[in-house]
Every structure is written in C-alpha cells, then in structure tokens.
Symmetry: C2
Subunit: 299 residues, 2 copies
Amino acid sequence: MKMFEIVPNFSTSDRSVINGIIDEIKKYGGNILDVDADKNHNRTVITFVCSENIIDLLYNMVKKASELIDMDLHRGLHPRIGATDVLPVIPLLDSTMDDAVKISKIIGERIGNDLNIPVYLYGESANSRYRKEISYIRNTKFQYEDLKMHINDKKYKPDYGPSEVGKAGALLVGARDFLIAYNVYLNTDSKDIGNEIAKSIRYKNGGLRYVRSLPLFIENDNMIQISMNILDYKKNPVYRVYEFIATEARKYNLSIVKSEIIGLLPEDAVTSTLNYYIKSNLNSKKVLEYNILTNNGYK
Amino acid sequence: MKMFEIVPNFSTSDRSVINGIIDEIKKYGGNILDVDADKNHNRTVITFVCSENIIDLLYNMVKKASELIDMDLHRGLHPRIGATDVLPVIPLLDSTMDDAVKISKIIGERIGNDLNIPVYLYGESANSRYRKEISYIRNTKFQYEDLKMHINDKKYKPDYGPSEVGKAGALLVGARDFLIAYNVYLNTDSKDIGNEIAKSIRYKNGGLRYVRSLPLFIENDNMIQISMNILDYKKNPVYRVYEFIATEARKYNLSIVKSEIIGLLPEDAVTSTLNYYIKSNLNSKKVLEYNILTNNGYK
C-alpha cells in the first residue's frame, strides 16, 4: 500500500481556523494522528497520513488555509512565510522518496498556478543545492514581510506561481524522510557536560551527519537531557545514536538513565535497532501486526 | 479492533484438500498469513487472522476438513487425533485471553453437537489441570487409533460431543498466548556444549518457566543452534532469553553469532525488547505503522 505522512505547519493557533483545516483533511480521507497548536509560536502542526486523493486533499487544505489566514495580521515567535508555511511529504509503507518528490512537485505547481501562491521546493524536492535547507528563505531574520519586499531578487524566484506575495504568503513544499525526535537523559545536572556531549554528536560540530542536538536541563528530573532530531534514521540508526552518547558519557563517568522517543517512529527503525542488540534478522514484515495490517492475504 | 490469530493443524498434505479448506477460510473473511504443508508429517499448518464471523468461519472450516479427510486412511510422522487436529485461538490487538477462551468453548460445543466430533479443550480453555497440555491425549504413543478404542475411559471423556470417534477423529481446541519461535546460534560445533546450554534455559531442567529448548547442529553453518519456543513472551521476554544464552555461553568462552525469529512476533515483543537495550518507553502505539493502521483517526 502506498501511503504518505504529511506534516503541514500552519500560521495560526486559532481553534476555529484549525477545525476548518481539519475538516478539509478529513473530507478527502486524511487520517489525522496528531494536532499540536502552540500559542506562543502562533503556529499549528498537524500530522496525518493519506493514501488516496492526496493531490486534491493537499490542494483543498492549502486553499482553505489561504482563505482563513491573513499573514498581514499574523504575529508569532516562530519564523514563517505563509499561511500554510511548510508542507513536508514523507513516504511510508510502499511509497518511495521518488513518489513523494513527484507529489510535492505536482501539488506545488497546482498551488502556484491556481491559488497564485509563490511555491518553493525544499528538501529532496529542491531543484538546486542551496534550496535544500529551508533557512535560505525562512529564518529568524527573513520572513513573510521580508519576502514580500524581496521576492523579485533572483535568489528568491519561486519554483512555481507568481513572483508576488499576497495575504496567504508563500509556501515551502518538499519531500523528506521521516524524522525521529529522540531524547537521552544523563545522570548529571552539569550544563557544561551536557554542552560537550551534545556538541560531540551534533553534525555541525563534527558529529553524526544526520543528527541535530541540543542540551537541556530538565528541572523535574534534575538531569541533563540531550535532545536530538535524527534526520535520517537509516543512515544514523537509533542504536548508534544511543551508543554514541553512552560512549561519550563514560568519559565523564556518567551513564544513560533513560531515553525517549517523542512522537512516533517507523517500524523499520524499531526492528533495525533491535537487530543490532540481539544480532537478529528482523524486518517490518516479521512483526505480526504490521504483517496483518499491510498484507492483502495469502496468494 | 478485536482480532484473533488461528493456527489450525490439519491431518493432510494434499494440495486439493488444503485448497478446499483455504476457500472456506477466505469465504468467511479470514486473512491467511501462512500455509505450511509437510509431506513427511502429512500435516498442514495454516496461520490466519480474523475479526468477524469467527464462529461461522471455524465451524465451516472444521466441517470441510471433516468431509475431505478420512483419518482411517491417514499416515504421517506427527502424532494426530483428528482431521482438524488442533485449533489454537490466540487473542490479538484489543482481544483478551477471556475472549479467546469464550470463542474456543462456543465453537467446541457447536462442533461437538452439530458435527458429532468429540472435542477436547486444552491450554487456557482447559477445564482441568491435566488437560492443559495436549500430550495427555495426543502423543507419539497415543493417537487417533488408540483414542478410538479408549474414548470410553473416564480420562478421555470429551468436553463436548459424543464419546465415539468417527472418520474425522477428534478435535483439540483451546486459547493460548502467542508463541515465539526463537533460535540462537553459538560459535561452536560441540553438541555437548549445545546440550548443556539448551538444558540451562529449559523449563523442565530448571530454566525459564516459559521456554522450551532443543540443541541442534546446523550443518550449513557448522554451528550449534539453540532452538527455542517462548510460550509466554510477556513473562519471558526475548531480551532475557538472549542474555540468558549469552551468559551461559561465556562459561565456555563462546558467544552468540546470530539469532533469528521463525515466523512472526508481536509488536509489543519487539518494543519491550528494544526498551531493555535503550532504556526507553516505547509501546506499540509509538510505532508509526501500528498507530496508523489500528487507530480510527483523530478525535
């Protein structure tokens, strides 16, 4: 079964606006897994999956958001350039990254042409290297208001749609892999050590290619948490991240107290990590429920 | 969602007979995961899951097998007492063991009354302690032919149906937990060491309560395999079995080369084992595909 996870970020935290968007997602068969509205960011992240009608679903969802959200009135902590600010398309089950890239381009073109919204491709869908990361067009110092003034610069030419920013702003759409949010707790309250360990695994400081990390002091536990995003769990599997932190911790005579997955993680991230520890040969199809629910019966 | 796994064993390896039975299972909505026909045993194990029409499905499946298989003509290595020899009912997803016991008793009674087949409850469905294990009525020395002669002994009085054995023989039906078949390979070819290690973990010899084990010499790998059945993976989790064998192996300066799951294992067996190694908090619902495919959408 081909399936995609979609994690759109909307520039609103207004419950009635969110409900309007949710209705649109459900109308086209989207299965909503999570809705996370943040008042300070004035931003809402909706996580859903879908396997059919995906183009119509995404088009009508973005259309609805563009009707309900006026970017000229939007204020919030998180950087943003549009009503539907960013639209990641993640391949699941039998879908490939190519499938997700294709969808992001079809929907990008349709939104650009029919809704007159400037559309930028990012991630695996990006047409040039510098557009892979969102930060080239959206960061704390360059947002909706700035894009409005500078969209005619060659650097900001949209991949689809007009070089003109209306009240719905612009849209970033792109295919990417599933991201795992993973936290590891250490038996110390030392922020300095937390900093050192977070640095050791962080890509920017010479660590693992697909890991972003941040040391946090968790008051409730009186412990340091290394908060991480694993951007590519196939290339940086969970066990390697865990063992990496464990190894660094030993340098300070520390050990890992617990770890936690925030949100969800894919079946193959679970089985591949387990395989490391028990030297086994598992894959998703060996998991009873996965097998039951994805197969179409004995041939 | 309530769901059951059913793993009936039929006294045949004839493809046309098997197909007749498979058609019956499919007709009532059974989702067949695996069919394993063994010529030497002259026996076929069908693994399927179902969530609706379960009583009608099981009744018609057993009826079909009783029409197609004549036990007076059956020969095979594996001990057997009936056409449908054993019918295990395993609770999955939201089903409980009580649900499975209830189903085994309803179907047992109906088969006994309407098909005139003697039915014996075993496993969690057993009405007395000595009937929990199948071996009291079916073993290498007591099979279909013997039951025919001795069914009037008090010891063999059926739970349902007549005290008379026809050409379809008798049926064992019972609820049980999911069984994990798990093999661990050691870097030795010594059968003596294999014997010792298999003994150390085997319940019968003082080992883990829910583990059966057998040492096998695997020619292809030139290695000893400890072949195990984990009868209750909640009480004897996979990690504990693995670490138990690893610990015993060290006694002989040996280590585990690889391990393998035969067939399928449930999601919670995977997450609970992973939790041990990375000190995490996973459960089935944290696994993306499990969550997608079992939830009914955002409330």
